[in-house]
């Protein structure tokens, strides 16, 4: 059984791994590298729970092959906080109770970070459409939208 050797960067660290041709990036992150923050909610790119950034592009890691990580720069939820300092989005999600069960939270945070990188001052509607690729079944999205708008406001002021 031969594996594919991959060299990549994850959350700023050089990482090397072997994977099978059919293995997704999500499976590699979770099962080979112990980065279980990205979740598999559907495996078909419909729920966004596995969202990561690949070269600053928001993707569902269940739709990317592990082998495609070669030479890329990957950012996962585990790299979002700066040491013990939470990212403003992470802090605002807790403060606004923008999570209940929390299974969708890592994906939402990555997607929200991507949204704010492209649009630092989104309207409520822009937040709603910007996060429409992520499913949450607990909150009804109300508090998530408020948390993202509040974080955006704080980040603009900072």
């Amino acid at each position: 059984m031969s594996g594919i050797a991959v060299s990549t960067t994850i959350n700023g660290d050089d990482v090397e791994f072997l994977c099978q041709a059919e293995e997704t990036l999500l499976e590699v992150l979770r099962d080979r590298l112990g980065l279980t923050g990205a979740k598999e909610g559907c495996g078909t790119g419909d729920c966004g729970a596995c969202s990561v950034l690949v070269d600053d592009r928001l993707v569902c890691s269940c739709l990317v092959l592990g082998a495609e990580a070669e030479g890329r720069n990957i950012e996962t939820i585990e790299g979002m906080a700066d040491g013990d300092k939470l990212h403003p989005l992470q802090r605002k999600f807790i403060e606004h109770a923008a999570l209940q069960c929390g299974i969708c939270t890592p994906g939402f945070l990555i997607a929200a970070k991507d949204l704010l990188a492209k649009n630092a001052d989104p309207t409520e509607e822009e937040v709603r459409f910007g996060l429409a690729g992520n499913l949450c079944r607990c909150t009804g999205y109300d508090k998530i939208v408020r948390a993202v708008l509040d974080a955006a406001s704080e980040m603009r002021g900072a």
Partner: protein, 751 residues
């Protein structure tokens, strides 16, 4: 425990505030460990083979080729899960659902499973299992299944609850009836009558985390199970029963749970994973795919409901009746019965009768979904109530207020109500600015009421005082919506210490006495009662320790504001002792300090809500858009108001999905055509507006703080509120849920 009126809003220090949740940081950093995030040394990958047929006899299963594949460590079929149920029909249904025995009853029914060294090998092994099926005619529709000509799921099912007992078997497993008074006389008194038939389609709870577990069984008869569940003690009982293990030798740990909504109150994969581990002699991780989650787990009933309501011109309802037909999947449940019990609960009715039929069909075994069975019954009844109000020319809110149940009303399902919140929610809705806001073209407004019983049940809590005076509470009720925060607040309230000094954990089954599962909105209600009791026991001990430290009688020690204080003038000079000071001396005053509580939390107060919805309908396409949504619900006492709002908003969003989009679509072949989030579309962020909430607090007389469960009721009114809004927008009465664009267009064309 009775409501203590000495607690008022002003006296609460912790309860009613909005602190940060203790599980927050883990959840925003990706550190929280869910069902699939845990591994054991030497772990194998488990996979399940599922029936592609809706109804088929399993003539023969040949697993020899799969077993011969290198890397396969175990293959199990029903033969590896022998029937140990000893005549317990409910347990036998669970067993048969976990692994098909002589027949596969639905598309997706498990027929075999493998454990292999990796996922690739496990997938290959499934393809090598040969099954000889004899495909049988199937039935998936509730009304079709009731016909004499319908394919029969079980030769042994004769309708229960009818007298005389039927001579022929059928798919109607049980009939139940509720009500009082003389319905026929009531209808004869009516000036106006509305009578209609309604349908709702089957939906799924749609939790984002698929079922996942890691099972490890040793050859000495002990085992461990890590699993995402709403009730690890109940899972332990079922798994031990089905595997023939001693309950105390199976240790079940509940992982962080990625949503359940009732769907994680039932076992599917767990007994199979344990059987695989027992056979392989190694731990096995079994995670469902989303396709499996849809095809094999969870769904709610599809229904067909007749409602008839009559009223006088002055707005008094004279009689109400309903016949409710609910699918159960292949085995009997009490789904129609719950619909029959809840249907008319908001109203004070002299003459009322509801009849429920539990109908067996070739669909997955129905499981609980947030206030199970109530949303469909409320959809039918609240639609008819709305139509009747319009027919007699009354405002729909006023019509409901004129007939509303109150303290002393005999409920349609039997008991007499204590203090209840339905009237106050209606009054609040009547005064709400939402009801007065203007509407535009193609827009409509609807409102509806909803009810859920709530539950209490068996509860056990340990409260341990640390050497530094901080406090740990170990609860056995799984936290699905923030109960670790709310229970910490309650412990802080009782002990008189800051919230930050309390840490709540969910203990595993070997560390704590039995707890019922987190269902029936019981989490905070029941465990707060046990937490209060445990804290009071700890205070009793701390008072005794303080008395010992001071050398005074314990009767002279009182507990105030987190301190032991010497009462009375004779001890006036003794400075109060804090929890920390008492804890620091514990080694010399009798050892560790803990409070325990084991109780049955009786008296869960019933819960009512009223919702308002504005909707816009595009008459060209049938597309709908929810413009504004308001939830008004009684919480008894909101421990953490932000999390109560979260429950209200989440339930409303699920109800909106159910009303407008979500449904199981079966082909003529009896196979599910949309087992994925692309084609089974739950609401996304851009589908919804902000969801406004108003929390009412009518204390529950059976809880010291007045707490009622708040988790479920919010999903009950939306189906009807939205159907009423759409009906008002398009001028056609909508009677079939979900109101997807094709169905709205069809209703417009039929008119």
């Amino acid at each position: 425990m009775d409501f203590d009126p000495s607690y008022t809003a002003q006296q609460f220090k912790s309860v009613g505030t909005r602190p940060l949740r203790p599980d927050g940081v883990d959840k925003v950093t990706g550190r929280a460990r869910y069902g699939a995030d845990f591994n054991m040394p030497g772990q194998l990958v488990g996979r399940v083979l599922r029936s592609p047929h809706a109804h088929a006899i399993i003539r023969k299963i040949d697993t020899s080729k799969a077993e011969a594949l290198k890397g396969v460590k175990a293959v199990v079929t029903a033969a590896d899960l022998p029937d140990l149920t000893d005549g317990d029909a409910d347990l036998y249904a669970i067993l048969s659902n976990c692994m098909a025995r002589d027949k596969a009853f639905y598309d997706g029914h498990a027929v075999a499973a493998v454990a292999a060294i990796d996922a690739r090998t496990a997938r290959r092994a499934l393809k090598l299992i040969e099954i000889d099926y004899e495909v049988l005619p199937h039935v998936t529709d509730v009304d079709e299944a009731m016909k004499d000509s319908a394919p029969l799921l079980h030769e042994s099912v004769f309708t229960d609850g009818v007298d005389p007992a039927p001579a022929k078997p059928s798919n109607v497993a049980r009939r139940s009836q509720y009500g009082h008074g003389d319905v026929d006389a009531g209808f004869a008194d009516a000036d106006m009558v509305v009578e209609r038939t309604y349908r709702t389609e089957q939906t799924h709870q749609g939790y984002i985390e698929p079922h996942a577990c890691v099972a490890s069984v040793n050859n000495d008869g002990t085992g461990e199970l890590w699993v995402c569940t709403q009730g690890h003690f109940v899972y332990r009982q079922w798994c031990a029963d089905l595997l023939g293990m001693d309950v105390s030798k199976l240790r079940v740990t509940s992982s962080e749970i990625g949503g359940g909504f009732g769907g994680k109150t039932h076992v599917w994969a767990e007994p199979v994973a344990l059987a695989l581990s027992r056979k392989a002699g190694r731990p096995v991780k079994l995670v469902m795919s989303r396709d499996e989650v849809f095809r094999a787990s969870g769904p709610t009933s599809a229904t067909s409901i007749d409602v008839k309501i009559g009223a006088k011109k002055d707005g008094t309802i004279t009689a109400a009746s309903a016949t409710l037909r609910y699918t159960c999947g292949p085995w009997v449940g009490m789904w129609a019965e719950l619909g029959a019990m809840t249907a008319f609960a908001p109203y004070d009715l002299k003459n009322v009768r509801t009849v429920g039929y539990e109908v067996l069909v070739n669909r997955p075994k129905v499981s609980a979904y947030r206030a199970p069975s109530a949303p469909m019954a409320a959809f039918a009844v609240e639609s008819a109530v709305d139509e009747l109000a319009r027919k007699i020319g009354m405002d729909p809110v006023d019509f409901r207020i004129a007939n509303v149940a109150k303290e002393g009303t005999r409920a349609s399902y039997g008991p007499v109500y204590g203090p209840i919140g339905i009237g106050p929610t209606l009054e609040a809705v009547k005064e709400h600015p939402h009801m007065k806001a203007p509407l535009g073209k193609n827009q409509g407004r609807g409102m509806a009421c909803g009810f859920w019983f709530n539950f209490g049940g068996q509860t056990c809590t340990d409260l341990n005082i640390g050497a530094d005076g901080t406090v740990t509470i170990a609860v056995g009720t799984v936290d699905v919506g923030g109960s670790r925060a709310s229970l910490s607040m309650v412990a802080a309230e009782e002990l008189g210490i800051p919230y930050e000094q309390v840490k709540a954990i969910v203990a595993d089954t070997s560390s704590l006495g039995y707890n019922d599962m987190t269902d029936g909105s019981r989490g905070t209600f029941s465990s707060s009662m046990a937490t209060i009791s445990a804290a009071r026991n700890a205070i009793r001990i701390m008072r005794a320790r303080a008395a010992q430290m001071w050398g005074i009688p314990v009767e002279d020690v009182v507990w105030e504001e987190g301190h032991a204080k010497a009462a009375g003038a004779k001890h006036g000079n003794l400075p109060p002792l804090s929890v920390r000071e008492i804890a620091a001396a514990a080694g010399n005053t009798g050892g560790p300090i803990a409070g325990h509580s084991e109780l049955v939390a009786d008296g869960a107060g019933v819960s009512f809500a009223t919702h308002i919805c504005d909707i816009e309908v595009d008459p060209e396409t049938g597309q709908t858009r929810v413009l504004r949504y308001t939830v008004v619900q009684d919480a008894g006492k909101a421990v953490h108001p932000t999390y109560v709002e979260g429950q209200y908003q989440g339930g409303a969003a699920q109800g909106i999905g159910w009303a407008l989009n979500e449904e199981y679509i079966y082909g003529k072949d009896g196979r599910l055509q949309n087992p994925g989030f692309l084609d089974y579309r739950i609401p996304v962020c851009s589908d919804l507006p902000m969801i406004d909430t108003q929390i009412l607090e009518i204390p529950n007389p059976n809880h010291p703080y007045g707490i009622r469960g708040v988790g479920e009721t919010s999903i009950v009114p939306p189906l009807a509120a939205i159907a009423n809004a759409v009906s008002n927008a398009v001028g056609v009465r909508m009677t079939h849920i979900p109101m997807s664009p094709p169905r709205i267009l069809a209703a417009l064309e039929a008119e």
